[in-house]
Protein backbone atom coordinates (compact mmCIF):
# COMPACT_ATOMS: atom_id res chain seq x y z
CA UNK A 1 0.00 0.00 0.00
CA UNK A 2 1.35 3.39 -0.97
CA UNK A 3 1.28 6.07 1.68
CA UNK A 4 1.82 9.70 0.80
CA UNK A 5 3.60 11.78 3.42
CA UNK A 6 4.19 15.43 4.15
CA UNK A 7 5.60 17.52 6.97
CA UNK A 8 3.27 19.94 8.71
CA UNK A 9 4.56 21.80 11.74
CA UNK A 10 6.78 19.31 13.49
CA UNK A 11 4.41 16.45 12.60
CA UNK A 12 4.55 13.86 9.89
CA UNK A 13 1.23 13.46 8.08
CA UNK A 14 0.77 10.02 6.53
CA UNK A 15 -2.11 9.50 4.13
CA UNK A 16 -3.17 5.99 3.05
CA UNK A 17 -5.80 5.47 0.35
CA UNK A 18 -8.46 2.86 -0.34
CA UNK A 19 -9.74 0.13 1.95
CA UNK A 20 -7.89 -1.27 4.95
CA UNK A 21 -9.67 -4.61 4.96
CA UNK A 22 -8.64 -8.23 5.33
CA UNK A 23 -6.81 -8.07 2.01
CA UNK A 24 -4.94 -4.82 2.73
CA UNK A 25 -4.35 -4.73 6.49
CA UNK A 26 -0.93 -6.38 6.40
CA UNK A 27 0.21 -4.13 3.56
CA UNK A 28 -0.99 -1.08 5.48
CA UNK A 29 0.87 -2.09 8.63
CA UNK A 30 4.03 -2.90 6.68
CA UNK A 31 3.89 0.48 4.94
CA UNK A 32 3.22 2.29 8.22
CA UNK A 33 5.94 0.57 10.28
CA UNK A 34 8.91 2.70 9.13
CA UNK A 35 7.13 5.89 10.22
CA UNK A 36 6.37 4.50 13.66
CA UNK A 37 10.07 4.23 14.52
CA UNK A 38 10.55 7.99 14.83
CA UNK A 39 7.22 8.49 16.57
CA UNK A 40 8.74 8.58 20.03
CA UNK A 41 9.52 10.94 22.89
CA UNK A 42 11.28 13.94 21.38
CA UNK A 43 10.66 12.51 17.90
CA UNK A 44 8.08 13.21 15.24
CA UNK A 45 4.37 13.05 16.10
CA UNK A 46 2.42 11.07 13.53
CA UNK A 47 -0.94 12.07 12.06
CA UNK A 48 -2.82 9.56 9.94
CA UNK A 49 -4.84 11.47 7.33
CA UNK A 50 -7.72 9.08 6.68
CA UNK A 51 -9.56 11.27 4.17
CA UNK A 52 -8.74 8.72 1.47
CA UNK A 53 -9.83 5.65 3.44
CA UNK A 54 -13.16 4.30 2.27
CA UNK A 55 -13.45 1.51 4.84
CA UNK A 56 -11.50 -0.19 7.62
CA UNK A 57 -12.33 -3.71 8.87
CA UNK A 58 -11.56 -5.39 12.18
CA UNK A 59 -8.18 -6.59 10.91
CA UNK A 60 -7.31 -3.06 9.83
CA UNK A 61 -8.34 -1.73 13.23
CA UNK A 62 -6.15 -4.35 14.87
CA UNK A 63 -3.21 -2.98 12.82
CA UNK A 64 -4.03 0.47 14.20
CA UNK A 65 -4.09 -0.98 17.72
CA UNK A 66 -0.62 -2.45 17.23
CA UNK A 67 0.61 0.92 15.96
CA UNK A 68 -0.90 2.75 18.92
CA UNK A 69 0.65 0.26 21.33
CA UNK A 70 4.11 0.69 19.80
CA UNK A 71 3.87 4.48 19.88
CA UNK A 72 2.70 4.43 23.48
CA UNK A 73 5.66 2.26 24.49
CA UNK A 74 7.93 4.83 22.81
CA UNK A 75 6.18 7.75 24.55
CA UNK A 76 5.29 9.18 21.15
CA UNK A 77 2.09 10.81 19.85
CA UNK A 78 -0.19 9.50 17.13
CA UNK A 79 -3.65 10.59 16.00
CA UNK A 80 -6.06 10.19 13.11
CA UNK A 81 -7.73 12.99 11.20
CA UNK A 82 -10.26 13.57 8.43
CA UNK A 83 -12.23 10.36 8.86
CA UNK A 84 -14.81 9.73 6.15
CA UNK A 85 -18.34 9.41 7.57
CA UNK A 86 -18.36 5.60 7.30
CA UNK A 87 -14.95 5.19 8.89
CA UNK A 88 -15.93 7.61 11.65
CA UNK A 89 -18.93 5.40 12.43
CA UNK A 90 -16.75 2.28 12.45
CA UNK A 91 -14.38 4.01 14.88
CA UNK A 92 -17.27 4.90 17.18
CA UNK A 93 -18.95 1.47 17.05
CA UNK A 94 -15.68 -0.37 17.65
CA UNK A 95 -14.68 2.17 20.36
CA UNK A 96 -11.46 2.97 18.53
CA UNK A 97 -12.37 6.62 19.10
CA UNK A 98 -11.28 5.85 22.68
CA UNK A 99 -7.96 4.43 21.50
CA UNK A 100 -7.03 7.22 19.09
CA UNK A 101 -7.39 10.96 19.28
CA UNK A 102 -9.68 11.77 16.35
CA UNK A 103 -9.57 15.22 14.70
CA UNK A 104 -11.82 16.75 12.07
CA UNK A 105 -8.88 18.29 10.22
CA UNK A 106 -5.16 17.74 9.89
CA UNK A 107 -4.63 21.34 11.02
CA UNK A 108 -6.47 20.64 14.25
CA UNK A 109 -4.38 17.54 14.83
CA UNK A 110 -1.14 19.40 14.16
CA UNK A 111 -2.17 22.16 16.55
CA UNK A 112 -2.59 19.65 19.37
CA UNK A 113 0.29 17.27 18.63
CA UNK A 114 2.93 19.89 17.76
Amino acid sequence: MNLTTKRQGNCLVVAPKGRIDHAQADAFKTALDPYLVECKAGGTPLILDFSGIEYISSVGLRALMLAARQVKEQDGSIAVAMLTPVVREVFEISRFNLVYQVFDTVDAAVAVLS
Binding site: S58, M65, E89, V90, I93, S94, F96, V99
Partner: protein, 318 residues
Protein backbone atom coordinates in the same frame (compact mmCIF):
# COMPACT_ATOMS: atom_id res chain seq x y z
CA UNK B 1 -36.56 -25.46 15.40
CA UNK B 2 -37.24 -23.05 18.24
CA UNK B 3 -34.58 -21.41 20.38
CA UNK B 4 -35.44 -20.19 23.88
CA UNK B 5 -33.01 -18.13 25.90
CA UNK B 6 -33.09 -18.72 29.65
CA UNK B 7 -29.78 -17.11 30.51
CA UNK B 8 -27.81 -14.66 28.37
CA UNK B 9 -25.41 -12.85 30.72
CA UNK B 10 -21.67 -13.44 30.80
CA UNK B 11 -19.48 -14.35 33.73
CA UNK B 12 -21.84 -13.79 36.66
CA UNK B 13 -25.59 -13.30 37.14
CA UNK B 14 -26.84 -9.76 37.58
CA UNK B 15 -30.18 -8.34 38.61
CA UNK B 16 -31.95 -5.02 38.34
CA UNK B 17 -31.71 -2.80 41.40
CA UNK B 18 -34.42 -0.60 42.90
CA UNK B 19 -32.72 2.38 41.27
CA UNK B 20 -32.80 0.65 37.88
CA UNK B 21 -36.57 0.05 38.18
CA UNK B 22 -37.10 3.62 39.34
CA UNK B 23 -35.20 4.91 36.32
CA UNK B 24 -37.35 2.84 33.94
CA UNK B 25 -40.56 4.06 35.60
CA UNK B 26 -39.47 7.68 35.40
CA UNK B 27 -38.54 7.31 31.73
CA UNK B 28 -41.88 5.62 30.93
CA UNK B 29 -43.92 8.24 32.79
CA UNK B 30 -41.92 11.07 31.27
CA UNK B 31 -42.74 9.70 27.83
CA UNK B 32 -46.43 9.49 28.76
CA UNK B 33 -46.64 12.99 30.22
CA UNK B 34 -49.51 14.98 28.71
CA UNK B 35 -50.97 11.96 26.97
CA UNK B 36 -54.30 10.31 27.61
CA UNK B 37 -54.92 6.59 27.52
CA UNK B 38 -58.56 5.49 27.20
CA UNK B 39 -58.06 1.81 27.87
CA UNK B 40 -55.68 -1.01 28.66
CA UNK B 41 -54.98 -1.66 24.97
CA UNK B 42 -53.67 1.88 24.48
CA UNK B 43 -51.46 1.56 27.52
CA UNK B 44 -50.08 -1.74 26.27
CA UNK B 45 -49.52 -0.29 22.79
CA UNK B 46 -47.58 2.58 24.33
CA UNK B 47 -45.44 0.23 26.39
CA UNK B 48 -44.87 -2.31 23.62
CA UNK B 49 -44.34 -0.03 20.63
CA UNK B 50 -43.20 3.36 21.85
CA UNK B 51 -40.89 2.56 24.71
CA UNK B 52 -37.54 1.01 23.93
CA UNK B 53 -36.91 -2.51 25.20
CA UNK B 54 -34.32 -1.11 27.60
CA UNK B 55 -37.15 0.88 29.25
CA UNK B 56 -40.13 -1.48 29.04
CA UNK B 57 -38.11 -4.67 29.53
CA UNK B 58 -34.71 -5.96 30.51
CA UNK B 59 -32.10 -8.12 28.87
CA UNK B 60 -31.97 -10.09 32.08
CA UNK B 61 -29.30 -11.42 34.28
CA UNK B 62 -29.09 -15.21 34.25
CA UNK B 63 -25.89 -16.78 32.95
CA UNK B 64 -25.75 -18.96 29.85
CA UNK B 65 -28.58 -21.41 29.28
CA UNK B 66 -30.31 -21.93 25.92
CA UNK B 67 -33.02 -24.44 25.00
CA UNK B 68 -33.12 -25.93 21.51
CA UNK B 69 -36.62 -27.27 20.80
CA UNK B 70 -37.11 -29.48 17.76
CA UNK B 71 -40.40 -30.87 18.99
CA UNK B 72 -38.91 -34.22 19.90
CA UNK B 73 -39.54 -36.22 23.05
CA UNK B 74 -35.95 -35.62 24.14
CA UNK B 75 -34.91 -32.14 25.24
CA UNK B 76 -31.79 -30.20 24.22
CA UNK B 77 -30.08 -27.54 26.28
CA UNK B 78 -26.85 -25.57 25.86
CA UNK B 79 -24.98 -24.91 29.10
CA UNK B 80 -26.11 -24.94 32.68
CA UNK B 81 -25.76 -21.30 33.73
CA UNK B 82 -28.13 -19.87 36.29
CA UNK B 83 -30.88 -19.77 33.64
CA UNK B 84 -31.15 -23.54 34.14
CA UNK B 85 -33.25 -22.93 37.27
CA UNK B 86 -36.27 -21.33 35.54
CA UNK B 87 -35.79 -23.68 32.58
CA UNK B 88 -36.00 -26.75 34.83
CA UNK B 89 -39.17 -25.48 36.45
CA UNK B 90 -40.73 -24.70 33.08
CA UNK B 91 -39.85 -28.17 31.79
CA UNK B 92 -41.49 -29.83 34.76
CA UNK B 93 -44.56 -27.65 34.28
CA UNK B 94 -44.75 -28.55 30.60
CA UNK B 95 -43.73 -32.21 30.52
CA UNK B 96 -44.22 -33.41 34.08
CA UNK B 97 -41.71 -34.12 36.79
CA UNK B 98 -40.22 -37.38 35.52
CA UNK B 99 -39.78 -39.69 32.57
CA UNK B 100 -37.87 -37.10 30.54
CA UNK B 101 -34.47 -37.17 28.84
CA UNK B 102 -32.45 -33.98 28.87
CA UNK B 103 -29.37 -33.62 26.66
CA UNK B 104 -27.10 -30.87 27.91
CA UNK B 105 -24.30 -29.57 25.66
CA UNK B 106 -21.49 -27.89 27.56
CA UNK B 107 -19.44 -25.13 25.94
CA UNK B 108 -16.97 -25.44 28.81
CA UNK B 109 -16.83 -25.89 32.55
CA UNK B 110 -16.29 -22.40 33.89
CA UNK B 111 -18.40 -21.54 36.88
CA UNK B 112 -20.94 -19.36 35.11
CA UNK B 113 -21.77 -22.25 32.78
CA UNK B 114 -22.32 -24.94 35.41
CA UNK B 115 -23.69 -22.94 38.35
CA UNK B 116 -27.34 -23.57 37.44
CA UNK B 117 -27.06 -27.35 37.49
CA UNK B 118 -27.75 -27.78 41.24
CA UNK B 119 -30.95 -25.76 40.73
CA UNK B 120 -32.13 -27.63 37.61
CA UNK B 121 -34.93 -29.46 39.39
CA UNK B 122 -35.25 -32.50 37.04
CA UNK B 123 -31.91 -33.82 38.31
CA UNK B 124 -33.47 -34.56 41.71
CA UNK B 125 -36.38 -36.62 40.37
CA UNK B 126 -36.07 -40.36 39.76
CA UNK B 127 -37.16 -41.40 36.29
CA UNK B 128 -35.38 -38.55 34.51
CA UNK B 129 -32.28 -39.13 32.43
CA UNK B 130 -29.70 -36.35 32.14
CA UNK B 131 -27.02 -36.75 29.46
CA UNK B 132 -24.24 -34.19 29.72
CA UNK B 133 -22.29 -33.83 26.48
CA UNK B 134 -18.96 -32.08 26.14
CA UNK B 135 -15.34 -32.39 25.14
CA UNK B 136 -13.52 -31.62 28.39
CA UNK B 137 -12.09 -34.73 30.02
CA UNK B 138 -12.72 -33.27 33.48
CA UNK B 139 -16.42 -32.72 32.86
CA UNK B 140 -17.81 -35.21 35.40
CA UNK B 141 -15.36 -34.08 38.07
CA UNK B 142 -16.35 -30.42 37.59
CA UNK B 143 -20.04 -31.23 38.14
CA UNK B 144 -19.38 -33.54 41.10
CA UNK B 145 -17.04 -31.07 42.81
CA UNK B 146 -19.59 -28.25 42.52
CA UNK B 147 -22.25 -30.55 43.93
CA UNK B 148 -20.50 -31.46 47.18
CA UNK B 149 -19.58 -30.06 50.58
CA UNK B 150 -18.62 -27.42 51.47
CA UNK B 151 -19.94 -25.71 48.34
CA UNK B 152 -23.38 -27.32 48.23
CA UNK B 153 -25.40 -29.28 50.78
CA UNK B 154 -26.67 -32.03 48.47
CA UNK B 155 -24.03 -34.44 47.25
CA UNK B 156 -23.95 -35.39 43.57
CA UNK B 157 -24.25 -39.07 44.49
CA UNK B 158 -27.68 -38.51 46.00
CA UNK B 159 -29.28 -37.01 42.89
CA UNK B 160 -32.43 -38.91 41.90
CA UNK B 161 -32.10 -38.79 38.14
CA UNK B 162 -29.82 -41.02 36.09
CA UNK B 163 -26.92 -38.79 35.10
CA UNK B 164 -24.58 -39.75 32.27
CA UNK B 165 -21.53 -37.95 30.92
CA UNK B 166 -20.67 -38.36 27.23
CA UNK B 167 -17.29 -37.04 26.19
CA UNK B 168 -16.94 -36.19 22.50
CA UNK B 169 -14.09 -35.16 20.23
CA UNK B 170 -14.07 -31.76 18.49
CA UNK B 171 -14.68 -32.20 14.79
CA UNK B 172 -17.12 -35.02 15.51
CA UNK B 173 -20.67 -35.07 14.11
CA UNK B 174 -23.36 -37.26 15.65
CA UNK B 175 -27.15 -37.46 15.78
CA UNK B 176 -29.69 -37.64 18.59
CA UNK B 177 -33.40 -37.84 17.77
CA UNK B 178 -32.93 -36.44 14.26
CA UNK B 179 -30.84 -33.56 15.57
CA UNK B 180 -27.38 -33.43 13.97
CA UNK B 181 -24.67 -32.04 16.21
CA UNK B 182 -21.17 -30.94 15.14
CA UNK B 183 -18.54 -29.64 17.52
CA UNK B 184 -15.71 -27.13 17.04
CA UNK B 185 -12.91 -26.26 19.43
CA UNK B 186 -12.73 -22.55 20.31
CA UNK B 187 -10.15 -20.24 21.86
CA UNK B 188 -10.89 -19.70 25.55
CA UNK B 189 -9.08 -20.30 28.82
CA UNK B 190 -8.98 -24.10 29.10
CA UNK B 191 -10.71 -24.30 25.70
CA UNK B 192 -14.37 -24.07 24.88
CA UNK B 193 -16.49 -25.78 22.25
CA UNK B 194 -19.03 -24.46 19.78
CA UNK B 195 -22.00 -26.51 18.56
CA UNK B 196 -23.69 -26.62 15.18
CA UNK B 197 -27.22 -28.02 15.43
CA UNK B 198 -29.07 -29.04 12.26
CA UNK B 199 -32.63 -30.28 12.00
CA UNK B 200 -35.21 -30.28 9.21
CA UNK B 201 -33.22 -27.86 7.07
CA UNK B 202 -32.55 -25.38 9.85
CA UNK B 203 -29.16 -24.66 11.42
CA UNK B 204 -28.31 -23.11 14.76
CA UNK B 205 -24.79 -22.27 15.94
CA UNK B 206 -24.08 -21.97 19.66
CA UNK B 207 -20.69 -20.30 19.99
CA UNK B 208 -20.09 -18.66 23.32
CA UNK B 209 -16.94 -17.93 25.30
CA UNK B 210 -14.85 -17.82 22.19
CA UNK B 211 -12.12 -15.43 21.13
CA UNK B 212 -11.26 -14.94 17.48
CA UNK B 213 -7.65 -13.98 16.83
CA UNK B 214 -7.64 -11.66 13.85
CA UNK B 215 -4.12 -12.69 12.83
CA UNK B 216 -5.02 -16.40 12.73
CA UNK B 217 -6.52 -16.46 9.24
CA UNK B 218 -6.75 -20.27 8.92
CA UNK B 219 -8.67 -20.50 12.18
CA UNK B 220 -11.02 -17.70 11.12
CA UNK B 221 -11.66 -19.57 7.86
CA UNK B 222 -12.57 -22.70 9.85
CA UNK B 223 -15.00 -20.65 11.91
CA UNK B 224 -16.62 -19.25 8.77
CA UNK B 225 -17.06 -22.81 7.49
CA UNK B 226 -18.57 -23.84 10.83
CA UNK B 227 -21.02 -20.91 10.71
CA UNK B 228 -21.76 -21.45 6.98
CA UNK B 229 -25.37 -20.66 5.96
CA UNK B 230 -26.61 -20.86 9.56
CA UNK B 231 -30.11 -19.57 10.28
CA UNK B 232 -28.85 -18.18 13.57
CA UNK B 233 -25.44 -17.75 15.16
CA UNK B 234 -25.50 -17.28 18.93
CA UNK B 235 -22.28 -15.37 19.39
CA UNK B 236 -20.21 -14.15 22.31
CA UNK B 237 -20.13 -10.38 21.76
CA UNK B 238 -19.12 -9.44 25.27
CA UNK B 239 -16.60 -6.71 24.46
CA UNK B 240 -16.06 -3.86 22.04
CA UNK B 241 -13.49 -4.61 19.34
CA UNK B 242 -11.09 -2.10 20.89
CA UNK B 243 -11.24 -3.96 24.21
CA UNK B 244 -11.02 -7.40 22.59
CA UNK B 245 -7.76 -6.59 20.80
CA UNK B 246 -6.14 -4.60 23.62
CA UNK B 247 -6.72 -4.69 27.36
CA UNK B 248 -8.99 -7.75 27.17
CA UNK B 249 -7.03 -9.69 24.54
CA UNK B 250 -6.62 -13.33 25.60
CA UNK B 251 -9.61 -13.09 27.95
CA UNK B 252 -11.43 -15.50 25.66
CA UNK B 253 -14.29 -13.40 24.37
CA UNK B 254 -15.19 -11.54 21.21
CA UNK B 255 -16.93 -8.45 19.88
CA UNK B 256 -19.98 -7.36 17.92
CA UNK B 257 -17.81 -6.20 15.03
CA UNK B 258 -16.16 -9.59 14.57
CA UNK B 259 -19.54 -11.30 14.96
CA UNK B 260 -20.98 -9.31 12.06
CA UNK B 261 -17.93 -9.89 9.87
CA UNK B 262 -17.84 -13.66 10.47
CA UNK B 263 -21.59 -14.02 9.89
CA UNK B 264 -21.39 -11.98 6.70
CA UNK B 265 -18.55 -14.15 5.40
CA UNK B 266 -20.50 -17.29 6.35
CA UNK B 267 -23.72 -15.93 4.79
CA UNK B 268 -25.54 -16.59 8.04
CA UNK B 269 -29.05 -15.16 8.31
CA UNK B 270 -29.09 -13.94 11.90
CA UNK B 271 -26.48 -12.91 14.46
CA UNK B 272 -27.71 -13.17 18.03
CA UNK B 273 -25.36 -11.40 20.42
CA UNK B 274 -24.95 -13.29 23.67
CA UNK B 275 -22.92 -13.49 26.90
CA UNK B 276 -23.52 -9.84 27.72
CA UNK B 277 -20.95 -8.00 29.80
CA UNK B 278 -22.28 -8.00 33.40
CA UNK B 279 -21.20 -4.37 33.85
CA UNK B 280 -23.59 -3.28 31.07
CA UNK B 281 -27.06 -2.05 31.99
CA UNK B 282 -30.06 -2.35 29.68
CA UNK B 283 -29.48 0.98 27.97
CA UNK B 284 -25.87 0.07 27.21
CA UNK B 285 -26.86 -3.29 25.68
CA UNK B 286 -29.58 -1.55 23.65
CA UNK B 287 -26.99 0.96 22.45
CA UNK B 288 -24.63 -1.84 21.39
CA UNK B 289 -27.51 -3.53 19.54
CA UNK B 290 -28.39 -0.34 17.66
CA UNK B 291 -24.74 0.27 16.78
CA UNK B 292 -24.26 -3.31 15.62
CA UNK B 293 -27.32 -3.09 13.38
CA UNK B 294 -25.87 0.11 11.92
CA UNK B 295 -22.48 -1.58 11.40
CA UNK B 296 -24.20 -4.44 9.57
CA UNK B 297 -25.99 -1.88 7.40
CA UNK B 298 -22.86 0.03 6.37
CA UNK B 299 -20.89 -3.17 5.68
CA UNK B 300 -23.69 -5.09 3.93
CA UNK B 301 -22.68 -6.54 0.59
CA UNK B 302 -25.37 -9.05 -0.28
CA UNK B 303 -28.36 -10.19 1.77
CA UNK B 304 -29.00 -8.38 5.04
CA UNK B 305 -27.92 -10.03 8.26
CA UNK B 306 -30.53 -9.80 11.00
CA UNK B 307 -28.96 -8.72 14.29
CA UNK B 308 -30.53 -9.54 17.65
CA UNK B 309 -29.41 -9.16 21.22
CA UNK B 310 -30.42 -12.18 23.29
CA UNK B 311 -32.43 -11.63 26.45
CA UNK B 312 -33.78 -13.95 29.11
CA UNK B 313 -37.18 -15.04 27.81
CA UNK B 314 -36.49 -14.47 24.11
CA UNK B 315 -37.94 -17.20 21.86
CA UNK B 316 -37.03 -17.38 18.20
CA UNK B 317 -38.47 -19.76 15.60
CA UNK B 318 -35.95 -20.55 12.89
Amino acid sequence: MKVRFWGTRGSIPVSLTANDIRGKLIAALTGAAGRHFDNQNQIEAYVDHELGFDICGTFGGHTSCVEVDIGSQEHFICDMGSGARPLGNAMIGKFGPSGQTYHIFMSHLHWDHIMGFPFFAPIYIPGNRIVIHGCHPGMAEAFRRQHSAPGFPVDFASLGAEIVFETHEPGQTFEIADLSISIKEQIHGGNSYGYRFEHAGRTLIYSTDSEYKLDQIAELDKTVDFFRDADMVIFDAMYSLAEAVSVKADWGHSSNIVGVELCQLAKAKCLCMFHHEPAYDDSKIAQVLAETRRFEEITRQESPLEVLSAYDGLEVSL
